[in-house]
Amino acid sequence: MSEIDMAVIKPEMMKPYIWLETSDGSIQQVEQEIAMYCPLICQEIIQKGMGSSKSCAICLPQRVSPVTLSLILDYCRFHQVPGRSNKERKSYDEKFIRMDTKRLCELTSAADSLQLKPLVDLTSRALARIIEGKSPEEIREIFHLPDDLTEEEKLEPLKNTTDDPRIRLLNRLYAKKRKELRERERLKNVEVEEEHVDERSVDDLLSFINGNDGDPKEVKTSKNKKKNRRKKEQQQKNSSLKEASEVNKVEVNGQSIRHQSAEADRIAETSNSHTEDVFAHREFDDGDIDDGIDPALKEKIDREVEDFARRLNSDWPERMQELLSSGQERKMMLFTPNGNSFLRRNA
């Protein structure tokens, strides 16, 4: 190129470039004017004098990959041009954030590490729009997050919310079952006490202690009796446990599936270990609600409640989703698709 040609080229046409190194070690040459739109890069250039050559390239944060860097530079290239109308900028921004969620997350992270606030705001708003109104399951699916919370932890925010009549009804059912278990436990204890009543005379006892006339056969039979009694008790325990867990059985296409809810587990625990009832002081202990009702009607209600619990458990994931939805008033509606009636809440 001749000197005359060089003279024709205006200084602003000779754009200065700077060197940037991304997380994977690749080095790119970028127009300084555009790169300086990012406060972090601007800082590095002004304060440390970095980026002037390939050997002293500006090392970008770990979260900035070559792909996200090119996206960020596109954004900067558009926005650093003066004289663009707000409408143009808005239109560009809307198109710019039309990308998959994974890339949007990476872009937010990269923009944040480069301290590029306008882009962070833009991408954050886009992500907020994605999240809003979604259930935890949907959010997990969108962002490919692990489902590492236990059922109890998922329900934690709702454990004290008893507005939903279905939750109240289920708690009532559990309370009823607990009451039955307590009754059984009490009767069992009474039986055991009765069996242990010793009607032998003092002389007999003394002779037994001294070992006189001690028939080994008799001792053996008493041991057998004890064994039989233990067996009986075990059977009773098992039957009560079975009943408690049957609350959570659901019939799906003829197959019996068991839903292990936290409450059922607790009931099982109480029936296994001879501890006093841990639910005695529970907020929802309204098992005595039916007292004074006609027995036939009571039986009918109990049947309905058990049937209801079965249906409720089959619909648990959907219910979770609904419970987390807004505190607006919602109506209860009953649907019966394919003859199997189930409950669902509709706005």
Partner: protein, 321 residues
């Protein structure tokens, strides 16, 4: 957390049930939470959620129908030690126990709204004031029992950083309380005394002379206020200007809002003096900041711009005339 700051509070609670990472980030990062959307079981929600959000600085629990009970406020006081802004308005069920708990647990409170909490007593409020000494904004509107001279004396003694106080319809408030307040809280900018029927000119004079930063004063329905109070306000501008020249104050300082509706004892000359002293007070439409409804004898009072407009209109009459 920036993303979650852009979504509504229900979504934030939902997000805390997504996974462990999100849950921990929300529990230890959330600074602001509002449960005002909750129309039925706010008390239960507070009991189960608040202990987890340990870094809360702002908690809005405004209610349409009373739901909050003392046990919820007790939980807040025990768990949220960094709380700075708390809104408990319309919590009719709360008792003094709540204020005692807040006093001990949330000493960094800067804004407290307990408007409509009619069950609180003045002793409990005085106790709160003695502990929460960083209070800058306090709304006691409708707290008839709590807002008494005793409570205001305690506030004046301990809450020296107070900038805004709403005493709307607290008809037990008298001159003793307001005067002590004016002396103890020189940084007061907004004082609403609407419906405080017992106060007289002495209260306004104390505020005018002792609170140089006063920007807004509500005297609606304070029927005992006379011209003496108005001239005191007008004169305070002169004093404050002298004081401001030393401290580098600007001409925009001074009253910007004054409500003297239903103060029927006032005369036009006294109110005009106030209006002339404070250029930010307007009677013209669109910038209405000197409110005089119900004072039929004050119709002649006009702000400077209204006078200029009137002059301009008379100088250049309509061509049709």
């Amino acid at each position: 957390m920036q993303i979650l700051s852009l979504v509504d509070d229900q979504t934030v609670i939902t997000a805390s049930g997504v996974c462990r990472g999100w849950r921990d980030a929300i529990y230890f990062g959330l600074a602001r939470l509002s449960l005002s959307w909750c129309s039925k079981s706010m008390n239960n929600l507070v009991l189960s959620l608040v202990p987890k959000f340990v870094k809360l600085q702002t908690l809005i629990l405004r209610q349409d129908k009373p739901q909050l009970e003392d046990n919820a406020v007790e939980t807040i006081a025990k768990c949220c030690h960094e709380l700075q802004i708390l809104d408990l308005s319309k919590s009719f069920k709360l008792t003094d126990h709540s204020l005692y708990e807040l006093a001990l647990g949330c000493r960094d409170l800067t804004k407290l709204n307990i408007s409509g909490c009619s069950a609180f007593s003045d002793n409990a409020l005085a106790y709160l004031a003695s502990f929460c000494r960083k209070l800058k904004v306090l709304n006691l509107c409708g707290c008839v029992r709590a807002a008494s001279d005793t409570a205001l004396q305690a506030i004046g003694q301990y809450c020296n950083q107070l900038q805004s106080l709403n005493l709307g319809w607290c008809d037990n408030v008298g001159d003793v309380g307001v005067t002590t307040l004016a002396y103890g809280c020189p940084d007061l900018r907004i004082v609403d005394l609407c419906g405080c029927v017992r106060i007289t000119d002495d209260s306004v004079i104390a505020l005018a002379t002792r609170c140089p930063h006063l920007r807004s004063l509500g005297l609606y329905y304070c029927k005992n206020i006379t011209d003496r109070a108005m001239y005191s306000l007008a004169h305070s501008k002169v004093n404050n200007r002298m004081w401001g020249s030393v401290k580098g104050g600007n001409d925009e300082d001074g009253l910007r809002t004054l409500n003297i509706s239903q103060c029927t004892a006032l005369t036009p000359s006294a109110v005009q003096a106030v209006c002339d002293s404070f250029p930010s007070l307007h009677t013209c439409s669109g910038r209405h900041s000197l409110i005089m409804s119900g004072c039929l004898n004050l119709t002649s009072v006009h702000c400077a711009c209204a006078v200029h407009a009137h002059r301009a209109f008379t100088t250049f009459p309509h061509p049709a005339h």
